[in-house]
């Protein structure tokens, strides 16, 4: 039986990260909080809301001082109707994983419930709100985590968020000859063909009534 990270380990680790971040970056516009998921075991994770100009400093500190070694997701979202300072948002997800290189012919079998300190796995979420405009820009963390490289390419390709300092940016999911400025997940690209609305169980519209005009579902 391998056991699993207990709620106490998880809560201690989250609080320790919160304290470390506030200690280093408190009061400079970076808001950190510990929130709990509402699924599975309802464990805690650390959410950081960071303005773009501080992002490189925070990310370097996270990697080298907080041991956050795994960059897993970069998500861009377009909020055309959002508040003035949040027209775009870039959400980064990181994990801290207790993984180290092994000397040959050995393996690490963690004593899960005995993990402590920086060895306890933790999830991090960094949100960077960007103002409205045609060219949302965020500094690139390509040189900090290798895993950020293709994630940033995908975010630019699909959403259009520019990553300043990213070397060799290219289309990764859309075709290589997609038009310049075509970023499909932006909200002006419509989801339905000519705003045609279909009902879930009535594709040919036999049960549609005049009152359904303009209704989405």
């Amino acid at each position: 039986m391998v056991g699993s990270i207990t709620p106490e380990q998880n809560a201690t680790a989250a609080e320790a990260c919160l304290a470390a971040i506030n200690d280093r970056f408190g009061g400079s516009g970076i808001e950190t909080s510990v929130l709990n998921h509402s699924n599975a075991k309802k464990y805690a994770f650390v959410r950081i809301v960071c303005p773009p100009q501080h992002w490189i400093a925070v990310s370097k500190w996270m990697k080298y001082d907080l041991d956050v070694n795994y960059c897993s997701m970069v998500t861009g979202t377009h909020f055309p109707d959002g508040s003035p300072e949040r027209g775009w948002e870039v959400a980064y997800h990181f994990l801290r994983q207790p993984v180290r290189n092994q000397t040959p012919n050995t393996c690490t079998v963690h004593d899960v419930e005995g993990l402590s300190g920086m060895d306890i796995p933790m999830e991090f979420e960094v949100l960077i709100p960007l103002p409205h405009g045609d060219s949302p820009t965020v500094p690139s963390i390509q040189s900090i985590w290798v895993g950020a490289d293709w994630n940033e390419k995908e975010t630019w390709d699909l959403v259009g968020i520019k990553f300043e300092g990213h070397v060799n940016m290219h289309r990764v999911l859309n075709p290589n000859d997609s038009p310049e400025g075509f970023h499909p997940l932006q909200k002006q690209h419509k989801l339905r063909y000519h705003d045609y609305n279909e009902m879930y169980d009535d594709p040919q519209g036999f049960m549609r009534k005049p009152a359904d005009e303009g209704r989405v579902k």
Binding site: P121, W150, K217
Partner: protein
Amino acid sequence: MGPQHPMTHGLWTLRVKVDGETVVDTEAELGYIHRGVEKICEARDFTQITPYCDRLCYVSAMTWANSYIYAAEDLLEADVPARAEYIRLISAEIQRLASHLMWLGAFGPDIGNLTLMTWCMRDREMFLDLLQELGGSRMHYNYPRIGGVKRDMPIGFADRVIAKTKLFEKRLDEYEMMLDESTIWLVRLQGVGYSTAESMVDAGVSGPNVRAAGVNYDVRWAHPYSVYDEIDWEPSVEKPTSVKGADCYDRYRVRMEEMRQSCRMVLDALNKIPGGKNTNYANGDEMIYTKAPTRAPEGATGFSNYECTRGASQFYIKGGGEGRGKNPYRVSIRSPMFLTIPYVAKTMIGYKIADIPAIMGSFDPCIGETDR
């Protein structure tokens, strides 16, 4: 090499620069089966998204549907009864068996062992039949629901699972007899495709590929979900023989061990399932399903971290979309293979062209989830 190439296990192109027979540089090109799932999901209800998630990695559909469902449950704040968690675990582990068999069945022919293809497909049929009993179809089940599962295990399902799993454990012995002493297999896999644990983690690789490099990190205990803490299992981990890290042989061994562990998990879960393994509750019964809210307000987010067959998959869903929150505003899908494939492309540098299928196959690519 690609997009149509038997080694690629999916549609993608690997551009290889060679000097004689040695690979000097590589570049991966993805996007051939980009279907725009993330954009489509913005126009669908939360229940309507589940079939799309099955089709992300079609070889390992149940784990992807479960991964999405956990994120939706985070967003909608739904509770799940214990029996449903056990059934999800059993279905996910059976799916892991089927997926690893598909991997082995494709990997064997890459190395030259065509017998493995037929053997693995034959054994995979056993597990596809089991999953068909649960979900209704062999590969795309649409089985988990937000708040539980769609229907309970049929009567007799548990007996069939036990019989097939016990038979399969003996079949695994046959596979190992064939492969572990085969000179060609060993020569082609050992000493090829080294990758260290820390370089993999930095690049975003996770799952059995990293466990082959010597650390037993597994999302199932690190960020626990479902009832893995109540059943008897160990993550399978290999000892790399070189300071350069894990080679293809280690990655192959990890997955064979994982198949044994999945068998063990399924048998143990059937013993411990609340309500008993031979009862069948009706659809929608509170033992297997709790009605969940269907709308998510703006500002709500859901995140799930799940151990898919090929690594750690995550879903990040923002609420507040169309239909006053019935649809998500943004669904972001993180596939473990999306970062593994560029990493593997760089791992191949320095080896021969003939090693490319071995290295690529040992990392178990699936392009459906990469391109979404």
